[in-house]
């Protein structure tokens, strides 16, 4: 069985003349959590946003190289970006619920893909909110605004919203950096619970978080041209206990970065 869900081959990203990422070769395993760590400005988010072509939204951005999803290159013109984004969902750094009810936040995605039947939608809402460990807290107020929830609940609502379209991969861009420790823990627990059905890629600044939740870790750093490179990739255990690269060791032990 092929376990490579996503893969980048010699991926480079330019913003205008500036090369933000250089030659990234990263393989993401199915039903595993892959963490991307590294100091600020090393291109972690840029890399993450390559996986669902969100970089397309930056007018000056250009992506060279291959990005494979189930072995198929999605970084070629003619690929349906909408379809890519349905298969590769995303959760952002700050909770960004739409100014709609909790129910409508979750059904926003399914409605886009033509699901209109109320029973089907209600089912999706319940399933997604349960997966995001939010159902018990909100089941009696599904028609209240998503903005009425606390920050941690809002972030779990955003996760439920992403899960509602049943993506294959979920990209998380520092999903807990704006949350308190208890909410952070809840998010990490739910990542553990859902990863059996999904593939997760998470960008994080929090070393302990990467160590706690991920199976694999990619270490990134900028080179002498201020361009982001992946300097090491391995099992999370290895990265944190026996890194091969001196710079990784310094970073994960907190000696710099």
């Amino acid at each position: 069985m092929n376990n490579e869900k996503m893969q980048t081959k010699n991926l480079s990203v330019h913003y205008g003349k500036f090369r933000a990422l250089t030659d990234i070769n990263l393989t993401v395993q199915t039903n595993k959590i892959t963490a991307i760590i590294g100091p600020s400005g090393c291109g972690k988010s840029t890399l993450l946003r390559s996986f669902n072509r969100m970089n397309d939204l930056t007018p000056s951005a250009r992506m060279d190289g291959e990005i494979l999803l189930d072995g198929e290159n999605i970084n070629v013109s003619g690929v349906d970006v909408v379809d890519v984004r349905r298969r590769v969902g995303m959760v952002f750094q700050r909770p960004n619920p739409f100014p709609k009810s909790i129910h409508d936040n979750v059904t926003y995605g399914p409605r886009l893909y033509g699901i209109r039947n109320k029973r089907d939608l209600d089912e999706i809402v319940e399933k997604s909110l349960k997966q995001a460990a939010l159902w018990d807290e909100v089941k009696d107020k599904l028609h209240q605004s998503g903005l009425s929830l606390s920050g941690g609940q809002q972030q779990r609502l955003c996760i439920a919203r992403a899960l509602a379209v049943e993506p294959e991969v979920i990209l998380m861009d520092e999903p807990a950096s704006a949350l308190d420790p208890i909410s952070t823990l809840k998010i990490e627990e739910l990542m553990h619970d859902i990863v059996k059905d999904y593939t997760i890629i998470i960008v994080t600044h929090n070393m302990q978080q990467a160590a706690r939740v991920s199976d694999y870790t990619a270490m990134m750093m900028i080179d002498e041209h201020r361009s982001g490179r992946m300097i090491e990739f391995n099992d999370t255990n290895v990265i944190f206990t026996n890194p091969k690269d001196k710079r990784t060791e310094d970073y994960v032990t907190g000696r710099f970065g």
Partner: protein
Amino acid sequence: MTVTRFQELIAKNQVAHSRRRRITNAVMLSVTGLLTLLALIPLFWIIGYVIYRGGPTLNWDFFTQLPRPLGVKGGGILHSIEGTIIITFLACLFAIPPGVLAAFYAARNPNTTLGIALRFSTDVLAGIPSIVMGLFVYDLMVVPMKHFSALAGGVALAILMLPTIIRTTEEMLKLVPHTLREGSLALGAPEWKTSLSVLFPAALNGIVTGFLLAIARAAGETAPLLFTALGNDTFNVGLIVKGGVQAHQNIFTILGRIVNQPVDSLPLTLWKYAQQPYPERISQSWGVALILMIFVLLTEVVTRLWIENRKRSMQG
């Protein structure tokens, strides 16, 4: 503990310093406070004086009757209220949809040629005197149609409202956090869908406030209506009802008949009455001024209530 040179200097100046600071503070506070009061005087003066002069004229008949000949007691300005409502409604109809759509374009593509052109021309349009709009629409519509009409009045006011609507809508759309837009696009939503069902609702409160400003300004305009809506002394809707509506006429024919004739408006009546040498007309024009103020105030209050209500339901 050693005392640094800096600390020494501070200690020396402290007393004089803090006294001067407190005095400056008190002086500036009283000056700004006084000027704020001064700025409020004209506002309350105008409101108070209009109520004082216009208040006695107001009674039920004033709202429900048509003008009576001079020397005949009573009469009202129903026709002006009707006309103002018709013209303002038409103006909103012509100005809001294109204004909002243009604002969407400009907010999304601010640095394209078209976006820059739009911003520049709305600024220019906002600076054109309103009477010029009237003259323009006179040539554009009244001359070809060969008669004055509510329709022409609505178009003139719509042009007047456009810049306000475009600019406020654009600014409000720009204030929506870009993460909301990304959230929608990341779910695979197309750009238009994102604008319509995420950005627009998020910015709606501010956008509606912009409509309000535009409506308040347009409803009080006289100059553009002089050559377009002209004004009259009749109750248009009433005339049509009285004249009979045939079975084969559909609703559009009837609406067409209403907007196709000259109508009056509150500012027009105010202007006409205030020029006349008769004391009863003068006092009636004060009454019209008061109604105009109430009209704008009511629109304001109703919309504010709606916005507050919406805000509350948003925050849960």
